[in-house]
Subunit: 538 residues, 2 copies
Amino acid sequence: MHGLMMDSQLSISSILTHAENVHQHAEIVSRKPEGGIFRYTYADAGKRSRQAANMLATLGVKQQDRVATLAWNTHRHFELYFGVSGSGAVLHTVNPRLFPEQIIYILNHAEDEVLFLDIQFIPLIEAVKDKLPLLKHIVLMVDKDSMPESSLDLLCYEELIEAASSDYEWPSFDENLAATLCYTSGTTGNPKGVLYSHRSTVIHALASMTNDALGVSNQSIILPVVPMFHVNAWGVPYAATAAGATLVLPGAGMDGGSLYELIDGENVELLLGVPTVWLGLLQYCEKESLTMTSVQDVVVGGAAAPMSMIKAFQEKHDAFVIHAWGMTELSPLGTVNARNSYMASLSLEERYELQAKQGRPVYGIEIRIVDDNDNELAKDGKAFGRLQVSGPWVASSYYKHEDQSDWTGKWFDTGDVATIDEQGYMNIVDRAKDVIKSGGEWISSIDVENIAVGHENVAECAVIGIAHPKWDERPLLLVIVKEGASMTKEDMTGYLEDKIVKWWMPDDVLFVEELPHTATGKLLKRELRDTYQDYYSK
Amino acid sequence: MHGLMMDSQLSISSILTHAENVHQHAEIVSRKPEGGIFRYTYADAGKRSRQAANMLATLGVKQQDRVATLAWNTHRHFELYFGVSGSGAVLHTVNPRLFPEQIIYILNHAEDEVLFLDIQFIPLIEAVKDKLPLLKHIVLMVDKDSMPESSLDLLCYEELIEAASSDYEWPSFDENLAATLCYTSGTTGNPKGVLYSHRSTVIHALASMTNDALGVSNQSIILPVVPMFHVNAWGVPYAATAAGATLVLPGAGMDGGSLYELIDGENVELLLGVPTVWLGLLQYCEKESLTMTSVQDVVVGGAAAPMSMIKAFQEKHDAFVIHAWGMTELSPLGTVNARNSYMASLSLEERYELQAKQGRPVYGIEIRIVDDNDNELAKDGKAFGRLQVSGPWVASSYYKHEDQSDWTGKWFDTGDVATIDEQGYMNIVDRAKDVIKSGGEWISSIDVENIAVGHENVAECAVIGIAHPKWDERPLLLVIVKEGASMTKEDMTGYLEDKIVKWWMPDDVLFVEELPHTATGKLLKRELRDTYQDYYSK
């Protein structure tokens, strides 16, 4: 027997309509890629998103067609978030940091016929245009006056918007229809596409708005530095709009100076982004002797926040670091380490230790850790195993991709190794493929790296597991020494000695000039393992 | 093309499982109907809810069977919220304030075979038991030691729970399955059942948790005085559990003294309930010269909060009144007047005026006002028309009931007349059947009543529209004078004179001994209109 409730299908357009009805005066502030700060209200954004929807029709976009963007966090990108998905097409946000071959691959794989482009990315597309046979229209997102010379046949976004009527009724459809598409690069093979639905996006937005997640409200002033080309900027454009928060979009200005200017000028309270960006911002503030007085919370995800960063935000800027963990396959929110009553009972040092963990699952997401035979492991903060997740905003497969090897029944295997403690706090230990299996026990390569990089002479390092005749695998530490500094193997092992358990000590330390990375900056440990595979068996 | 997201069905049991995983130490405090304060954690509640699920199986309850409760807000009722719905049966919460004939009607209409009872309601069921042929088991929710003598064949809840295993796996099923059932009494005909689904309940809970709604978090300490037999206590048991809030349940103690004791003892921050209850609490505090120091917010719904109440909470207890509006047919949240950035810009008097409105729609709910021909009216704060609503937690029909006259396309007609202003704030003007149509214009009977009751000699009053030969209808004011006081028609009209527009002035004022009410305390204006129907045409 079904409940007797309205069959209201969840839709992305309903988020914007809500903002137009009840948050019409709340503002969106945007740094334009062609220069200058732009500001308007959700009412204006609603009108222009409807114009964008009409514009798409004139470009020949039909229901469920994929529409690509190569763009920063701007108000125009925001309009496409709602205009494209709201009209029933699929917004495909392309990461400009991918290698050109990867960009060619995904634009063709998604069969994009229309591409919306920011001015900085013209050279990137000029270079690969010949390999994009399906592409029919390229729309440059600038004012009419800023249209540049280009070998590309470019349409002007503002011209198209101006010509489009704002008279548009968002269509209703099945909430399971595809809404957005985002490719995850990984370290092997071609990028894989995650295809979000209206349902998953709306439920994710609602869960994000709760206080155990981002806790946004119409009183929040939010700066998502996490790019709108990366997992929908962690869903912030949707959550902020539903909540009527002031949304501050940094455009192409991701450097410390540009970010500080925006934070200070707009009284930003909530920041969201990856550690690299915060490192730049903190260094800028340090150098210029500036304090961020308005910032209350900094959500850090994408990679682990170093303890030094958690302390720097707290002690120099009175800002609380909220560690979060997610993946493209999770829309992306999985766990968030939000303020809570348990934390209030801890000393500052204990709280810092807790903040370094990736947090607790948001309601809607289930997590567990398993051993190699899929047996669930204890939630005691000590046992570590493969992290698996399940929930309404978790991917069930990749777009046009047969491989289902990451799924087991209701669970998606994240490829991470983690612990979960009694309070439900999850802590990422390592990537599953990077964890070192030594004598039946596991060693976290990340833990050893994080300690080693604390040595004043170490610029960067990597720990990898190498086949070993007796112990199965043993750790090898590769170190790039800071310019002008020098150190020996004994300096390094001496430093590690009282900081890690004895059997985690790398059997050898090698000093190298460089380490290999992916396009998006991840260490390519696979390549290192290939290079050094016989090192301990020789 | 569907998005490629997990087909995770939303379920009420997932809320409790989440609390067990991440909020296991958060507390539920409950005043037991048989006496004493009980406290335990969400981990304990999870275990006992699973025991309750096993207990239901031993009582012969099968999937989708309706299971009735006649119970206060207690931890045992909480366990049934999850145990009954979580196991796939339908929780039917019965309002003990209904007339005996109505209770007989709904227990038979719902075909309840099992009834869970609080000790105070034994006489009520003893009196009607003969007319409940379907009822197989009556379970009294008390400790073993407190089982009383009764003509009923009573089972003991604690004994059954003790005998049940806590080993239980919550089943998965279609999220559209029925989860709970609540009858709305209205002023005419038999009560009508609203049948909520797992989907509607979970989406409603997520929306309730956002800061534009109740904004609950694991740091909240919540006292829902709104009964768990009334629209699922406004969904608070679900939202509080998902958020890991401390939940304080008042049992049978709804008087000012009992409530104050609980508020003070447990440092309650958030109160939720109807105006009548708050009147009792405020009067008690006044009489005993007590201040509620911990309370931050008071959510008032069910009926309009008088301005004097909004001010008393603010000025005497530093507590902010959040006006909310909903209906049984809306699960119940429709609009909430939560704190927001717009409010911050107002003077205190302006803010009070704004707080007196019923608030803005929660994301997920659409509202509009229409004239008698279903034409949408302007959102200008002046035009008033029938309030219609739509959304995923709005009823689509009544349980086993043919009449669809309250629905038009995607809209449910609330039977209320309201205004909506430019900011999206909705204000209830009147019930549609009570609004007075005079010379082509509408007069709000509620507005006139609210002003008239402000006269120091008025105990209660009612304004009704009476057929009039010239103006179609004209208002008649019926007044109960306070004991020991006396007043004339001229006293009354003189008082109203500068407070309402001239043509709203009642053509006559009658002084009466009593006014008719429904079982749940609503004025029976229909009866008054019948009595006085010829008053102006004679």
